[in-house]
Amino acid sequence: MLDVKDIRKDFPMYSLHNNEYEAKPLHYLDNAATSFKPSVVINKINEYYNNYSANTKRSDYSLAYKIDQEFEEARKIVASFINANIDEVAFTSGATMSLNEIAYSLLYELKEGDEIILSYNEHASNVLPWYNIAKMKRCKIVFAPSDKKGVITPNNLSKVITKITKVVSLASVTNVLGVRQPIKELVKITHNNNALFVCDGAQEAPHHKIDVKDTNVDFLALSSHKMVGPTGVGLLYVKKEVQNKIWPFIYGGEMNSRFDSSLSVSLKEFPFSFEAGTQNIAGILGFAEACKYLNNIGLEEIEKHEKSLKTYAIKQLKEMKNIILYNDFNDSGIITFNVKDIHAQDVATYLSSNNVFIRSGNHCAKLLPEVLNVNSTCRASLYLYNDYSDIDALVSSLKKSGDFLDVYF
């Protein structure tokens, strides 16, 4: 187990909330939505604004040179975090933007009748851009069936993939049930059918070492804010070999080499062609700092820590007759449940009155009810700074959740 007491010292949210002035300690269990930020990340952002505030890639003075160096150093750190080469990662505003950029970058590659394979488990950001592209290009969306545990097995992908499949786009870890997909095998099947594999890594990156060389995905999207980094920053990975298939979606300064009035435009190479306009420089530096912070603690340690907390939680929740568990079988840090006869949102509001913060609803995965047969669930999601006391608070509050209306009186 990680030394949570020590780790919490790194996070101002704990020092500000868990003190003598707060009536109840903070039990933050909504990490799949977003995470707290350590001081090193916050300080890095401030450092940029306080010490070397200048734009990147366009100026010749020494101050600008310093930030250019920092910026490319950040790219190196973030690229190495997923074992990519430096010329394979572009910065975006987050996984949503990355997935949109991937979809639209393939606009010229896709043609009428092509198929795009998704799954029922996907987050809106890995469904709706494809719906839109499918409408524009008259492509067909196909859903790969999952097994009872939410896994897209290689066999199931093989059943739906065909010669006209152009793209398979799946989350490596799903955001409601925390299902880990066998990405490496799925990529192999995809490539055997000459299709491209897009991986939504937003829920995997904070907890598990991503290795794009090992899985051989063609595209990967992730968000900094779920992995102790700042909001408004994300990463778009495009494998070198497929960079000739994509075309930028957003146009502006510093992504082109030259253009003239005859409409002739020459673009820079990837990743610069995908970084139009002034970037979220402070956020990007903070993102790299977050990667360093996670590397120092160790993703393996973090994953182990979450696993022990989940096992501890599941053991107690299973003993409670009024709790319905939806993903007790997997070892992700996500616990998805309902309390019998109480609406998920009422449970979340009640838990909030005990300072236990979880998410309720459909978690942006609006297709999942079609297979889960339940419209809304409660989701408690763990991270490195959670401990047994958070689980105890969750369990003991749930034991009293029959009184869920108390919060209104």
Partner: protein, 145 residues
């Protein structure tokens, strides 16, 4: 004055539980003479359809169906009983008073009757939209008149 003690949380709680467990006027009908509105809040799971039949400016029938939390379910059920056989103007006045109550402003206790059980819902600000979803829906119905 209301027929119950609005300072007694046990009673207010019972009203909510009663309407949540046995919602009134909850059914879906296939009749084009009813005005239909669909209320699905962007931030939560509430997904409620309201069907209202208005004849000569009077709300003759009101039904609703869909899925919601305890607060939205109970509130919609209570609203349906409050506005039945009322004129559109009377219903608008009820809506106005209900909004006032949620904003901790002055309101007519008699007009709101059982809907007073939501007097403290603003202790959970995120849930105000659950409590007023059907009132907002009824306003949309009136816009269609």
């Amino acid at each position: 004055m209301s027929t119950f003690d609005i300072t007694n949380p046990v009673i207010l709680r019972e009203i909510i539980m009663d309407h949540y467990s046995n919602p009134r006027n909850k059914k879906e009908i296939d009749d084009p003479s009813f005005i239909l509105v669909h209320m699905d809040s962007a931030s939560c799971i509430d997904d409620i359809y309201i069907q209202v039949k208005i004849v000569n400016n009077i709300i003759k029938k009101i039904y609703w169906h869909g899925e919601g939390c305890a607060i939205s379910t109970a509130s919609t059920s209570i609203m349906s009983e409050l506005v039945i056989n009322k004129s559109v103007e009377e219903a608008k006045n009820i809506i106005h008073n209900f909004y006032n109550m949620l904003e901790s402003k002055e309101f007519d206790h008699d007009l709101l009757d059982e809907a007073i059980c939501f007097i403290n819902v603003n202790r959970q600000p995120s849930r105000i939209t659950c409590a007023n979803i059907s009132y907002r829906g009824l306003e949309k119905v009136f816009e269609k008149l």
